[in-house]
Structures are given as C-alpha cells and as structure tokens.
C-alpha cells in the first residue's frame, strides 16, 4: 500500500479512527507521518505519539456528564453536585471538574494525594490574604516553632528565648481572637 500523502513511498503507519460510527483510515509513510505530526503537535522529533492521541480520545465530552445509568441500577455513584463529575470519571481523565470536587471526593482523595506528594496531604504554603486572620497566625506560629527548634539545636539560646516570647505573644493574640471573634 502506498502512502496517501505522497503516493511514492510505502505506507508504514496505519491508523483507523471511528467517531460516531464513521470510519476514517489514514495510511502514511514515515516521512509524511513525521511531517504531519510536526504540524499537529509540537514535539518535532518523536513522530506520531499515540499516547497523546489516546489521552485526547479519553477526554470526557461535557455531554457525557450526566451518567446514562439504567433505571434498574440501584447503586448511587458518588458525584459532585456542582459539576456532576463522578469519581470513576476523575480517575479516567485525572482532572477535577471544579473546586467542590475536592470536598466531594475527600474520602477517596487522601490516598491519591499521599501517593502523588510523597505522603503529604495537607497544605503548608502560601495563604491568600483575604482568608481569615487565624489561619495566618497559626501558620506564623508553626513557622516560628520550627525556627525555635533550629535555634535550640544550634545552642543559640538568646535568640531562642526571643522567638519563644514572640510565639507566646502570637498565641495570646490567637486566644484573644477566638474570645472576641463574635
């Protein structure tokens, strides 16, 4: 079989695509396949990347969101109320549908996060300023406690005492916030 692009070289790549029952066949030689893939995707060297194609095919169409369950199936599939994503869907595409998915799937999520982030599953970084003051204070205290330990291990006790006072101050402030928070 000859390549359908150049009609010169024998076709080396055969690709059949079936979309909604409509079948398209593509037969290309290596040279033309390379050319085509360069135009389609940005990796100039790796030629046809079937993984990319597959990932594209797995992408869930929005019309697919409402699972067409048979009325006889009793078992309720856990889904997000805001974007109607189900957990199996998430596993398939590896992306969440909206911010609420994190809450909806929290029970299933922990092992996933642990695996992805070497055992971590709680945030320890930046906090948006608009989020309530307490969270900032608590993070500040946690950070100070870490440096306190560092100072003690380096036997810099004067510095450590200062940090300890600062922590006490902040803790008092935190307690005050809770009391007068209403």
């Amino acid at each position: 079989m000859l390549c359908q692009e150049c009609n010169q070289r024998p076709a080396a790549l055969h690709f059949t695509k079936i979309v909604n029952g409509e079948k398209t066949e593509v037969n290309l030689c290596e040279v033309c396949a390379q050319e085509k893939s360069e135009m389609l995707m940005f990796n100039g060297q790796s030629g046809f990347n079937f993984n990319n194609l597959l990932a594209g095919l797995l992408n869930i169409d929005p019309s697919f969101q409402k699972p067409s369950q048979s009325p006889f199936q009793q078992e309720e599939v856990l889904h997000c109320e805001h974007c109607s994503m189900t957990f199996p869907q998430f596993l398939k595409i590896g992306r969440f549908g909206c911010a609420h998915c994190y809450e909806t799937f929290k029970d299933q999520l922990q092992p996933v996060l642990r695996r992805l982030h070497s055992g971590n599953w709680t945030h320890n970084g930046k906090i948006p300023k608009r989020i309530g003051g307490d969270l900032h204070l608590r993070k500040q205290i946690d950070d100070l406690k870490v440096s306190l330990q560092e100072c003690i291990s380096r036997e810099e006790f004067e510095k450590a005492a200062k940090i300890r006072d600062e922590i006490r101050n902040l803790e008092r402030k935190l307690a005050g916030n809770v009391g007068g928070g209403e």
């Binding site: 992306r95 994190y102 971590n120 709680t122 945030h123 930046k126 969270l135």
Partner: protein
C-alpha cells in the same frame, strides 16, 4: 526583514541577558496555578464561564495595573494565527496545551516577556515568571507579587487543608512548579547523566528536555523541576530544588575540568569542528544544530572560543525551531526547506558576531 530587526523582535530578555551562574543555568521559571472559586475548572467549564474568566481578567487589567511589570497585553488564542501560537510556544511563553487544546485560552504578556499569565489552560490562571540564569528566589518573589495583585481582585479556590485547588491533583497545595533549565554537556560527555537522572528523581524532582514533558534533551539542555506541590512551603520547594541544582552545577564544573585535563585537544577539536559545521553548512537538521550549538557554547565557556556572545546557544536553540524559521521566512516551510533556512540563519547570526569583533577592533 533583516536578521537584526528580526532578532530584536524575537529575542526576549531571558534569552539574551546573562544571569547568575549563566555558564550552566540558562533560565529559571516559576509557575503558579490558580483558579476562580465560582467557575468550573477548564476541564468541564461552559463557554459562558470561560468567557467570564476572560472578561474578569480584562476588567482587572483596565482598572488596575502593576507598575513594576509595565504594560500588559492580552492575546486571545482564537484570534491568533497558528504560526503566532507556535512561536509563543517555542519561546516558552505559552504551553502547547494552551495553543492547541484551549479554545477559550488567552495569555497576558508583559513587554519584556518576563511574565506571562496563561488563562483557561488546565487551570483558570497560570502565572509564569521566566528569568535568565539561576534566580529562583527572584522569580518566586515576582510570581508572588503578581499573585498578590490578582488575589486582591479574584476570589481564588482555596481550601485550608488542601491549599490552592487545581484541576489536576498533582498541582494542588502551592500550585507551584519551579524549574531550572541547565546546559550540562560535561556530564553528558563523561556519561554521568544516566546515573544522575534517577538520583534526582528519587529526591522528588523531575528531569525533562528543553520543550517539557516527553521532549528530548536537545543540545544537552535539561529542565529540572519539583514534583511535589503539597505539604511543603513555596520557599522550601525552591530551596530543595536549589540544593539539587547547585550539586549539578558543581558536578558539571568538575566534569568540565576533568575533560580539560584528560582530553583537552580532543575537546578543542570537537568544539571547532562544530563551529565549522555551523559557519559553513547549507543544510542542517535541528538535532545536529542543537548538538553543534551545545559544543560551541561549551567552547565559549571553557575559553576555546573568544569574543562570541554566550547567549548564542539560548538564542539559536529557540530561533531555529520550526515556528520561528517560518516566521522569519514569512511563508510555510516543509521540513527540508526548514533545514536550509536553519543553516542560513545560523550562518548569518554567526557572521554578525564576527562583524561585531571587527567593529570593536
């Protein structure tokens, strides 16, 4: 278009300027992933939501600006020509994903192209800061400033426990990806790289080629970045990456010294052969060009070649990519035609270097 004019337009500051440790580190990038709380993530959002995200960003630009970063311009993916998009990808200003699979995508660019904010890619917002040389702290600082500015106007999706919520759980928490682009010919020539890459992976870092995931390490250029985004602070993530990068820098330097001691003349020969190929060839494939450019850059760093700008590797690696070649030519080119154009562009660019020397003398 003259080559000089084209270069002025095409070269962004991170490609031409020198930064700390720029004999080995070409560039530093910080990316922060953020999302609007009220809209579905780009995986599932509707046209209306996508448009609202863009409108909100446009309004934000009209009402407030960040003095420090200068004028910002918003470009919509749907209004761009394929070639234009490709050039932005080759310059690392937008991702292939934004260019190809994000119909409602847009990008905010500063004039010096140090900052780009991708809109409606995998997440609603991706802040990117690209600096020359090794400047992790500086890039993080800049990214944080932009984040603070956006945060004043946007209700981010944030959770006390999980941090910044992202479409993909691999980015949740800090949403940060810190990456450093390194030129490591010494470690490749002394065949140490195959041993080093698994070790870096074990430390929770990822090694990739110049064009990100799945791409080859063309021209001995490697991208090292963090994998974990949850449970560590942004500063710790950068510090850990910095630790790996400084190790690599010192190993690369000692590999270069070892090469100089054991095979000085062979190395010099290799450098000048590659320079010969670049200055004389009429047809050159991108792989060969990358290899020769890497050799020449090593030659400059090690003092075999004098009076040639170091930025030549950064610049020509990017400018000889298919998109740029076609933009320079002003027409679409087939692979074979690109190889001819590439050879011409490299020859012309190297000629500019030698003319510069004559001019100075």
């Amino acid at each position: 278009m003259s080559l000089e004019h084209f270069l002025n337009q095409a070269v962004s500051s991170w490609m031409s300027e020198e930064g700390p440790d720029s004999d080995i580190v070409l560039s530093t990038r910080i990316r922060l992933a953020r999302n609007f709380e009220q809209y579905k993530f780009p995986t599932l959002f509707s046209h209306e939501e996508a448009k609202k995200v863009i409108t909100e960003m446009e309004q934000l630009l009209e009402t407030s600006s960040l003095q420090k970063f200068g004028q910002m311009e918003l470009l919509k993916i749907e209004e761009m020509q394929p070639l234009q998009k490709r050039v932005l990808v080759e310059k690392h200003l937008i991702s292939p994903h934004l260019a190809e699979d994000s119909p409602y995508g847009a990008v905010l660019l500063t004039e010096n192209e140090e900052v780009s904010i991708m809109i409606n890619e995998e997440d609603h917002i991706r802040i990117q800061c690209l600096f020359p040389g090794l400047q992790l702290a500086e890039a993080l600082h800049a990214a944080n400033e932009i984040d603070d500015w956006l945060e004043r106007h946007i209700q981010y999706a944030f959770d006390e426990k999980y941090g910044y919520l992202t479409s993909c759980p691999t980015n949740v928490g800090t949403g940060i990806r810190a990456s450093v682009m390194m030129h490591l010919p010494g470690l490749v020539l002394t065949q140490q790289m195959n041993r080093i890459i698994p070790a870096i992976n074990q430390l929770g870092h990822v090694v990739r080629g110049i064009y990100g995931e799945g791409s080859e390490a063309l021209g001995n250029i490697f991208q090292i970045s963090n994998q974990i985004t949850l449970g560590k602070s942004e500063e710790d993530i950068c510090r850990d990456l910095m630790g790996v990068v400084s190790q690599l820098i010192s190993q690369e330097r000692s590999a270069r010294e070892a090469l100089r001691k054991t095979s000085n003349i062979q190395l010099e020969d290799r450098v000048f052969r590659s320079l010969g190929v670049l200055t004389n060839s009429r047809i050159i494939e991108s792989k060969e060009a990358a290899r020769c450019l890497s050799d020449v850059r090593l030659g400059i760093d090690m003092g075999y070649i004098h009076q040639m700008s170091k930025s030549i590797l950064n610049e020509l690696m990017i400018l000889t990519q298919p998109g740029f070649l076609q933009q320079y030519a002003g027409v679409q080119l087939r692979a074979h035609e690109r190889d001819i154009r590439r050879a011409t562009l490299i020859r012309e660019r190297l000629k500019m270097e030698s003319e510069k020397i004559i001019g100075e003398e």
